[in-house]
């Protein structure tokens, strides 16, 4: 392993250790914030996997809802243990994505974006329309938390560790996926689709697989969220929430694995600190988005390299 690789792993381990002790020094309110932040990180990273193929969708948050509803109904109505219903949430979101591949991937680019929005809204409206079993606009409430060795997962600190564990495992898997042969093929499908097809790559299949895998992980994120909230409603998965995900990814940058994570962290912290300016939040987000597109088209992830480049240019005159 190279020296840079060792340093990277050491840095991640230090970060994980810091996260292990962090909740004990936070207020309850901030412990909750951290839980939702980690879930949002899984949302944006799984979304990025989808974007590797060059397709941007507006259905990702709805797939999160598919996972959330699955886990809620399995655990509450059918008595499944949460430890079973959570993985099933991912499986159901993946299966739903597999079904949707057939109509959705007949389209590409802008048409795919709009098509994904329409299908997502249809699913969301079905949750509202079918009061049984989805609970209509009120959704499903009193969803049980996980149970394990008498640990109270309704309290923020135990749930923080659960979320930290699950999200870390998911991120490691997603990172491995992206850097595998499969991940490299996704890049090829994006940038050189015709060339890839000429050497036998089935681009439809790879686009579909990216969508399915991304949905699987965001389904798990949905389950993590609702077993902490104890409640799931269709409103949690509206296009407004999807817009926030898009902004996090765009502002953070989507060229590297860490860009969307950076975007989610920075904008979530900013969002929380703007609580007293709630009415201005959409405007502030708009300004940030425009500024990011104009002055940081590669996102926040490009800032360190930009600074390094600036210093190196100063050091080497001419």
């Amino acid at each position: 392993m190279s020296k840079a690789g060792i340093l990277q792993i050491a840095g991640i381990l230090v970060l994980l250790l810091a996260l292990l002790v962090l909740p004990n020094y936070l207020k309850y309110h901030h412990q909750d914030f951290m839980i939702f932040l980690f879930i949002n990180i899984l949302v944006v990273v799984s979304y990025r996997l989808m974007t590797l193929t060059g397709e941007w969708s507006l259905i990702h948050i709805v797939m999160m809802g598919v996972g959330a509803y699955t886990s809620a109904l399995l655990s509450k109505n059918l008595g499944f243990p949460v430890w079973v219903s959570m993985p099933m949430a991912g499986v159901s979101a993946g299966l739903m994505a597999a079904l949707l591949c057939f109509p959705l991937f007949r389209m590409t680019q802008f048409y795919f974006l709009i098509g994904s929005f329409a299908v997502g809204e249809a699913i969301r409206l079905a949750w509202i329309f079918f009061v049984y079993p989805f609970g209509g606009s009120s959704g499903v409430s009193s969803i049980p938390p996980p149970e394990l060795l008498g640990i109270d997962f309704m309290e923020p600190i135990p749930y923080f560790y659960l979320v930290l564990s699950v999200v870390t495992i998911c991120l490691v898997i997603l990172y491995r996926v992206e850097n595998s042969r499969f991940g490299l093929t996704l890049h090829a499908v994006h940038w050189k689709a015709s060339l890839a097809e000429s050497v036998g790559v089935n681009t439809w299949k790879y686009r579909s697989l990216a969508f399915i895998v991304a949905s699987l992980f965001v389904g798990i994120a949905g389950a993590l969220k609702i077993h902490y909230l104890g409640n799931v409603t269709p409103h949690q998965f509206g296009v407004g929430t999807m817009v926030f995900v898009l902004i996090w990814v765009i502002v953070g940058g989507y060229n590297t694995f860490f860009g969307p994570i950076l975007g989610a962290i920075v904008l979530s912290v900013l969002d929380e600190s703007l609580r007293d300016l709630e009415e201005f939040r959409p405007a502030i987000y708009g300004v940030i988005l425009i500024a990011a597109i104009m002055f940081m088209p590669k996102g926040l992830e490009s800032v360190p390299s930009g600074i390094r480049q600036w210093f190196s240019q100063r050091k080497s005159p001419g």
Partner: protein, 431 residues
């Protein structure tokens, strides 16, 4: 039906009137009667409000905070409230959840664990449902304006003021009595369970009991921008009464009724923005429009069984600083706050479980418009809502004026089977 007879509800000494008197200027006398307790010695008790203060639902949150601050300031200016031998100043702690379930959970926990509030007031619906598991486990006294949030598993959740949408029955009952020639109605409402369908089921039951046929019910989404076709299709049924079961779109719907030449009666659950409605239609068109929420400078709120200190003064104080922001919650949350003060004084404690016990042990609890009764087991599985009299309001010469008070409790006791049937028909939860 007449106003609730005294025989039904035990006449009681109104601590709230005592509070009102105190607020009106007896602070000095109070201080004199307890010379050893000074304001400097007073402790502070925090009351939480986990409500929408921004976004689409803000009109059902923010005015309530303003109202509570007026009441709390008045109580504090009079030296605070004495509970269990200690003097307490009231402090409001608020959190804006923007009607988002995720933020509702965060806000509730912050208020309870960081601000150490002794009661949390909420609007209701999914934002209440999301906090129920945790709140009930913590035995935190929580209030809602939607008693349909109450289930057998929510012993610490109470609805002590608004009983949405049960009060609607009084408006229909009154209208039918005054206009026996009215025989048909149509209903328009939002398609959500928390507000729209609950209200539609209640109106349907009220119309059924009053012998009025409901010709059609339109459940529309929250994304409607043009009500012309919906209103046209409903008016094609030629109804005697046009009923709006939720208030979110009152103004554009009444505008459509005006432009399409409707000449029948209009009934609405609420009509907080009626001056705006008049401005967009005409005073003559909305004359006689029946709804359920009074202005607080209404002469009929003075005296009688009304349990709200100096409603006119409160109305003036509110409009002085927050003109144009009045909505029903402006007095509803303060009313709940006053309920809490009375119960805490009765309990001699500020602890949530003891205050709740004092609340529930009062068989005839003070309700804003007179003595009430704990009710709800027949519909939601638990008697945790206080219902009593409620005013029937109609627009007369451009002003909302109380026509009379009627008993929601008596109606519910008599007609709960019909109400339950209508709720079930709309797939609503019934115990």
């Amino acid at each position: 039906m007449a106003k609730t007879p005294p025989a039904v509800f035990q006449q009681r000494f109104s601590r709230r009137r005592f509070l009102g008197t105190t607020i009106a200027g007896m602070g000095a006398a109070l201080t004199a009667s307890m010379p050893r307790i000074s304001v400097a010695d007073a402790k502070t008790v925090k009351i939480g409000m986990n409500i929408p203060m921004t976004g689409d639902y803000a009109p059902w949150g923010l005015p309530g905070l303003y109202g509570c601050e007026i009441i709390a300031n008045n109580l504090n200016a009079a030296g605070g409230v004495e509970i269990g031998g200690d003097k307490y100043m009231i402090e409001m702690a608020s959190y804006d959840h923007g009607y988002d379930t995720e933020k509702s959970v965060q806000g509730f926990k912050k208020l309870v664990l960081e601000d150490d509030v002794k009661m949390v007031m909420m609007l209701g619906g999914s934002t209440v449902a999301s906090i129920i598991p945790w709140a009930m486990r913590k035995k935190m006294l929580t209030t809602t304006l939607l008693p349909s949030d109450i289930t057998p598993d929510t012993p610490y959740l109470v609805a002590t003021c608004e009983s949405h949408p049960l009060y609607n029955v009084t408006g229909v009952e009154w209208l039918a009595e005054k206009n026996p020639d009215l025989k048909t109605a149509v209903i328009i409402t939002t398609n959500d369970i928390e507000y729209g369908k609950q209200s539609a089921a209640t109106y349907k039951a009220a119309f059924e009991v009053a012998g009025i046929d409901v010709l059609d019910t339109n459940f529309h989404g929250f994304d409607v921008v043009d009500f012309a076709p919906i209103v046209s299709s409903l008016l094609a049924k030629k109804p005697d009464i046009f009923c709006m079961a939720t208030d979110v779109y009152t103004t554009p719907i009444i505008e459509q009724l005006f432009h399409q030449g409707y000449e029948g009666k209009i009934v609405s659950c609420t009509c907080d923005g009626y001056p705006d409605v008049i401005a967009k239609t005409s005073k003559e068109f909305v004359e006689g429009l029946v709804f359920q929420f009074p202005d607080f400078d209404d002469p009929k709120l003075v005296g009688g069984d009304v349990n709200f200190p100096d409603p006119g003064g409160f109305d003036a104080a509110f409009n002085k600083d927050h003109a144009g922001e009045w909505s029903a919650v402006a007095w509803e949350y303060p009313s709940i706050l006053l309920n809490w003060v009375e119960s805490a004084q009765a309990a001699g404690s500020i602890e949530p479980t003891e205050v709740l016990q004092a609340m529930k042990s009062d068989e005839s609890p003070a309700h804003t418009f007179g003595p009430g009764k704990w009710w709800g087991a027949a519909l939601w599985g638990l008697d945790n809502a206080v219902i009593g009299d409620w005013p029937v309001v109609a627009i007369n010469d451009g002003r909302a004026r109380i026509q009379e008070f009627r008993s929601v409790y008596n109606w519910c006791e008599t007609n709960v089977a019909e109400l339950s049937k209508q709720m079930k028909d709309l797939d609503l939860r019934v115990a």
